[in-house]
Symmetry: C2
Subunit: 215 residues, 2 copies
């Protein structure tokens, strides 16, 4: 209410990157940095960096620069990384296992409280500190634990059905790998999609563009 202008989504999408670079600097013992130095390291313009940092409060000091730990904390605060949104993961194939096992959930604002699959081969296995449960038990699990977010690591042909089921249980937030866009069907959901195919097609475009420099 005081000096916080609203942070636009294009700024928000840059925050994790700032956070990444600043955390690393902080761990390396760097206490201050100027927008110009940071610009060189990150590839954003110094002007943009100042503009960005300004829209969430005056953390800089003229003639000095920015206090690295202070800035980290501010970003942490804005992104809400100290929160522990309870989440579940559906689909413990290779992708699901990779994510359950390696994603540092509690540094990212989440807490993994359940992993589900319906293949008897994986049910009972442990991954990411969780025992894989049968998908059929999801209803009871929801009633008891009320997860707020679901990570979908399932084949794309199942995403519509599974997301509908989770939605009807009460889940309104998804992290989705694949093609289907949950948010179109359920506009009141909060969704982040990781469209790997799209990303790979974009890379393909870039490669093609590089090979024929002049159109």
């Amino acid at each position: 209410m005081q000096k916080k202008n609203l942070v636009s989504m294009s700024v928000v999408r840059r925050l994790p990157r700032y956070y990444r670079f600043l955390s690393e600097l902080g761990k390396g013992g760097v206490a201050r940095i100027s927008s110009q130095e940071l610009s060189k390291k990150m590839g954003f313009s110094a002007s943009q960096i100042r503009q960005d940092f300004n829209c969430f409060g005056g953390f800089g000091q003229q003639g000095y620069g920015y206090n690295v730990p202070q800035l980290c904390e501010a970003i942490e605060e804005i992104l809400g990384l100290k929160q522990q949104h309870r989440c579940i993961l559906i689909g413990a194939g290779n992708l699901g296992k990779a994510i359950a096992g390696h994603m540092p959930f509690n540094q990212l604002g989440f807490q993994l409280i359940g992993v589900f699959d319906n293949s008897p081969q994986v049910i009972g296995q442990k991954v990411g500190g969780q025992t894989i449960l049968p998908y059929g038990s999801i209803g009871a699990f929801y009633q008891e634990n009320h997860p707020v977010m679901a990570i979908l690591c399932i084949p794309r042909e199942n995403v519509e059905e599974i997301s509908d089921q989770l939605y009807s249980l009460g889940i309104r937030s998804f992290w989705n790998f694949g093609h289907y866009d949950i948010s179109l069907k359920h506009p009141d959901t909060t969704v982040e999609n990781v469209h790997m195919n799209d990303s790979m097609m974009t890379l393909c475009y870039k490669l093609a563009a590089k090979n024929k420099p002049q159109a």
Copy 2:
């Protein structure tokens, strides 16, 4: 050279999504669609759709709409999906296996020609039609097969070292999972990063923003 204005990167990033929806329509036997109908399905404005489609040639017909298969083919052409850029995948852990096994490379402009890891436990296994090879053999492999792109599915602490090695072999294009930004160190590379952590932090922000609607 004729009527092709240049396609801006923001348009290009929407193309895979168009392609996805249009392919599906095409498979379903839909021959024509208007910008308005497509708008409802995809969540882009009709105006934007017309604007986008126009910057790569007149595929529409007034009073009728767009020819779906024709449009698909045009996008395919622009993105270069018919190409078969040879690529290798480094790191056959869960993530690497998921990608090697499930990514439809040859629908995305690529061809997977080798998978590498340095863990004796996985070397020799088959995944995505490839036998996993020891990472140590990468130099010889490069000399013989000249892959142009490398997919990095390795722990983030190894990305700098491995990407340097691949760069020095001659690889100039990367699809990278994780934190390290290869393009900052090697500006002449073509890179697509999939920053899963960033995506998850963004989701965390959205969730927090939804919970406190009025600031």
